[in-house]
């Protein structure tokens, strides 16, 4: 089996593609199905004959159809047909069109590795050209710093106005006021903070304690603005973290040059996708099998297009990650895959006690006070319930020591798969409640929606 049905479902760009894929997942729609250690392929007979390929090495895929959805229904169908019956694609020699496709992919990967190597040792680069490029970059950075400073000062004035005039009527004024501030921050080239401000509209009016939660956000944002005013005095890792929080991108070159390289066998423990307007974002949480370190791969893609890296919950991938510069060091990018991914069949490293989990989170907050969330694995926990009527958090997890944490919601699948027995849970923690994202049960890691 290449991927399980559950994983294929998560890979699908939308429900319609999955449904269409399922319809095509029958042998009668296919010819020349085949597989080897590298790939899986087949020809799907639709309105035309489409050549469909899947690369086992990194779960990459391609189809000759003109669909703008990634993966298209033909790729999904190919994976489904093999998930249903592993013998459906018998072992055979790769046809020419598969050989060519794989060769192109391997050449591209090689080029990427060479480029990383070259960036690390730029022996033949003209010093004058470098100086010129650096001067241009510094000028652009200075311009951006200025714009961001102006934008943050305007935001701070607005925060003060809010506190002076009171938060009472915000819920009645609608989400427009936050959207307006977010738009101004985008114009001021601080898109990261803009996203955070835009989400404040979800807080207003949501639950009896929304004033307290909103005030906390306003206060932390004010602290961020104060930190920005002194950014030149901050240690470099904190300044880096702050800039990334405001929306600075770390360039590929800088990441290659400065990002810490970490080799491990990475378990994909959970994944969250969000869509805003026409842009999709994906947070994939990884836990290293050997060192137990946590990393997060953040990707963006236009709606209906695929993310650059294919990472599937429940798979384990030997890889070199490059960590983004900063104090927390959670965000990372896959620099190189060191073998094909394999299904996870053993427990992942994590915290056996909730108190250890909270301590680790506190350390992260101390390093980066604007950290919004962190994830990891809590081991051997059980579901618990707060039966108090109107409880804000009716569902909890509890560890063997009796410590407990509230769940944002109870995924029905989590309850069904665990049945009141202990389990290992991957979750995002925002300091208030847990968002379950993955689960280890029956020797399988599964994603939670």
């Amino acid at each position: 089996m290449v991927l399980g049905a559950d994983q294929i479902e998560r890979l699908a760009p939308d429900a319609a593609s999955l449904a269409a894929g399922r319809k095509l997942a029958a042998a009668r729609h296919w010819s020349a199905l085949g597989s080897d250690n590298q790939a899986l392929w087949g020809i799907c007979q639709g309105s035309a004959n489409y050549l469909v390929k899947f690369d086992r090495a990194d779960q990459g895929y391609h189809c000759s159809c003109p669909s703008r959805k990634f993966p298209c229904k033909h790729v999904l169908a190919l994976l489904l047909i093999v998930a249903q019956d592993p013998d459906a694609a018998p072992k055979r020699d790769e046809p020419e069109w598969v050989v060519e496709w794989l060769a192109k992919r391997r050449a591209r990967d090689e080029k990427k590795t060479v480029r990383q190597h070259e960036t690390a040792s730029p022996a033949d680069v003209d010093p004058q050209a470098i100086a010129k490029a650096n001067a241009g970059r510094k000028r652009r950075e200075a311009q951006r710093d200025e714009r961001v400073s102006e934008g943050l000062e305007r935001l701070d004035l607005w925060l003060h106005d809010l506190i002076r005039n009171g938060l009472a009527d915000l819920a009645l004024r609608g989400s427009g006021i936050f959207a307006e501030q977010a738009k101004r921050l985008v114009d001021a080239q601080a898109p990261g903070l803009a996203n955070r401000v835009a989400r404040w509209s979800e807080i207003t009016g949501s639950g009896p304690d929304w004033h307290e939660r909103l005030l906390a956000e306003l206060g932390r944002t004010h602290l961020l603005i104060r930190a920005w005013r002194r950014i030149d005095e901050l240690p470099a890792p904190i300044a880096d973290e702050l800039r990334q929080h405001l929306g600075w991108n770390v360039t590929q070159d800088r990441l290659d040059a400065e990002g810490e390289a970490v080799d491990d066998s990475w378990i994909v423990v959970g994944q969250i996708e969000e869509q805003e307007d026409r842009l999709r974002s994906q947070r994939t949480w990884l836990v290293g099998r050997q060192a137990g370190q946590v990393a997060m791969v953040l990707q963006f893609a236009p709606a209906n297009q695929n993310f650059a890296e294919s990472l599937v919950v429940g798979m384990e991938q030997a890889a070199t990650l490059r960590r983004y510069p900063g104090t927390v060091g959670v965000r990372a990018r896959i620099a190189a895959r060191l073998g094909p991914p394999t299904p996870v069949t053993a427990r992942a490293p994590g915290d056996d006690r909730i108190v250890d989990w909270l301590d680790r989170f506190a350390d992260r907050i101390a390093a980066h006070p604007w950290l919004e969330r962190f994830a990891g694995v809590l081991r051997y926990v059980r579901l618990a319930r707060d039966s108090t009527p109107q409880s804000r958090h009716p569902w909890w997890i509890i560890d063997t020591g009796g410590d407990r944490l509230p769940l944002q919601r109870l995924p029905r699948r989590l309850a069904a798969l665990t049945g009141g027995h202990p389990f290992d849970l991957a979750a995002e923690w925002d300091g208030v409640s847990l968002l379950p994202i993955g689960l280890f049960a029956d020797r399988t890691w599964r994603g939670l929606p």
Binding site: A19, G166, L215, H222, A384, L410, L417, H421, G431, D442
Partner: protein
């Protein structure tokens, strides 16, 4: 709400910064930051407090760990089974639950329970027939899960774990929840449930009263008569109709007694043209007494007149009464009414009476076959008798024929489907499953003939049989059927041909899903034990 949030809520412009703010561990840190305004002070304090709280949160909330489910002697279906069930559940074109019901039967036949991950979707099932099919394969995990959500309480009814008061939460429940409680209560103790209902029934809204009374059909007995008789005087016509319908199903009820008495004047034997004929004389108005017994007033509504009233009145009389009264067989009586102007109405009334009382009075069975034959004759004549719903009655009568007779009758109808107004699809649903290879062959031949001959009008009829055929086909025949259909060449050069291709694809997809499920169940190795295999931390 904390004092800082209260200050921000009102606005410092009005309240300023209160001098008596409660002490907080972060105050010293906050006050060390130089500030130039009250607003800045509030923002700094709020920010620092928030970071402090986020980093050091510790929860003391009293929570109760959920007890683990009990071990089920049966294994749950594998991930492959779950994937197939998910496919069927998420198929937007398949809003008919028949295939899912069949898959549930397959699970039960292989002594498997539903895969754990399929349980939440299964518990969301709404169709009563699907719920009935799901219950045997829920397993202990499913029953455990059903306790977590009140909407899933239907799955707990009558189980060993169902030790709670079935009427717990009656006063606060929605109407659907109370209906579910009443169903559960009637299944456990009909008399106690009736008493519970009677205690609050008067205070319910009319539409709620009607819904609740319908539930008395579960465990219905003559003991329910006093309450139902009382409800015949209810203000709501919907309530009266339901009460009379339930009383009408009890041969010993006073309502049926009154119907039998009234029946004496409805049908008489008189000499007509030298032969003894049955003559129907329905009333010319609906009296107050008739209305009280749930009979319609077609004169007021202009829907059917005397004929419609006659049908309703005869339907309340056990048909065995007519044999006793006239000393003649059902076939004889049917023949003697043929020439009467109300013949179709009498036939419809007898059909409805037979179907209503057949379950409780075995003497009614002798009417089934003669009525079925007569309906074949009437419907085969091309006489449109839709106003008396004779086709529907025919379908129900077909369901009461002996199994072998059903197969024989249906074979005849499949070969000549257009001679009758009788719809074949509903009759197919009443055949015992799986069907014989002879029946399948007959249907398949008809289907392929229509396709190859591009007889689209015929195919439209045949295609309506496909959903039921997909679930009634023996699994062993499925590969051959798919192969035969794949050899039929169809060109999508006409919208009817396109529709036909789609219908065949849906049919093949359903067959394929059944085949894969059975293969997955047959090949399934014993799954891993439940998640308790997650070992304890060292």
């Amino acid at each position: 709400m904390n004092d800082l949030a209260r200050t921000a809520l009102l606005g410092t412009g009005r309240s300023g910064l209160p001098s008596d703010l409660a002490a907080h561990p972060t105050d010293r840190l906050s006050s060390a930051v130089p500030t130039d305004s009250v607003e800045t002070q509030v923002l700094i304090r709020a920010g620092v407090r928030s970071i402090w709280e986020q980093a050091g949160r510790h929860f003391e909330t009293e929570v109760e760990p959920l007890s683990a489910d009990e071990v089920d002697p049966r294994s749950p279906g594998s991930a492959q089974v779950a994937a197939i069930l998910n496919e069927v559940a998420s198929d937007s074109q398949a809003n008919d639950p028949t295939l899912m019901i069949e898959l549930m039967h397959s699970l039960a036949a292989h002594e498997r329970t539903l895969p754990y991950e399929s349980l939440p979707d299964a518990l969301e099932a709404q169709a009563p027939a699907l719920r009935d099919a799901i219950l045997p394969v829920l397993g202990t995990r499913g029953v455990w899960l059903a306790h977590l959500d009140p909407r899933w309480s239907w799955a707990i009814r009558g189980t060993a774990t169902d030790d709670a008061d079935p009427f717990g939460g009656w006063d606060e429940g929605t109407i659907d929840e109370r209906c579910a409680m009443l169903e559960r209560g009637r299944a456990i103790d009909p008399a106690a449930a009736r008493e519970r209902l009677a205690a609050t029934l008067r205070s319910e809204r009319a539409d709620h009263r009607a819904k609740l009374i319908e539930r008395l059909a579960i465990g219905l007995s003559i003991d329910d008569e006093p309450l139902l008789e009382e409800l015949l005087d209810d203000r709501s016509s919907a309530v009266r109709e339901r009460a009379s319908a339930l009383l009408g199903r009890l041969p010993a009820s006073r309502l049926v007694g009154r119907a039998i008495e009234r029946g004496a004047a409805l049908l008489v034997i008189e000499p007509v043209d030298g032969a003894e004929r049955l003559v129907a004389s329905p009333p010319t108005e609906t009296t107050k007494e008739l209305k009280r017994d749930g009979l319609p007033d077609p004169f007021a509504s202009g829907s059917g007149g005397r004929g419609a009233l006659l049908v309703a009145m005869l339907a309340q009389v056990p048909p065995s009464i007519w044999c006793e009264r006239f000393g003649r067989s059902p076939s004889d009586l049917i023949e003697r009414i043929r020439e009467d102007r109300f013949a179709d109405a009498v036939l419809a009334g007898w059909c409805q009476g037979t179907l209503r009382f057949a379950e409780r009075e075995s003497r009614c069975d002798v009417w089934v076959e003669p009525l079925w034959r007569e309906l074949q004759r009437v419907l085969g004549d091309g006489r449109s008798s839709r106003q008396y719903r004779l086709s529907e009655s025919a379908v129900e009568l077909f369901g009461r024929l002996a199994p072998a007779q059903r197969i024989a009758e249906l074979g005849r109808l499949i070969d000549e489907p257009f001679r009758s107004e009788l719809p074949i699809g509903p009759l197919l649903a009443l055949l015992e499953r799986p069907w014989s290879s002879a029946t399948i062959e007959r249907l398949l031949r008809r289907l392929i003939d229509d396709l190859q001959g591009a007889r689209w009008e015929g195919f439209a009829v045949t295609a309506s049989w496909l959903p039921i055929t997909a679930i009634a086909t023996p699994v062993s025949l499925i590969p051959e059927i798919i192969a035969r259909l794949s050899r039929v060449e169809l060109r999508p050069n006409d919208y009817r041909a396109v529709n036909a291709i789609r219908a065949i694809e849906r049919f093949v997809t359903s067959l394929d899903r059944r085949l894969r499920l059975v293969r997955a169940l047959t090949n399934q190795n014993d799954p891993m034990p439940p998640s308790s295999e997650t070992s304890e931390p060292n």
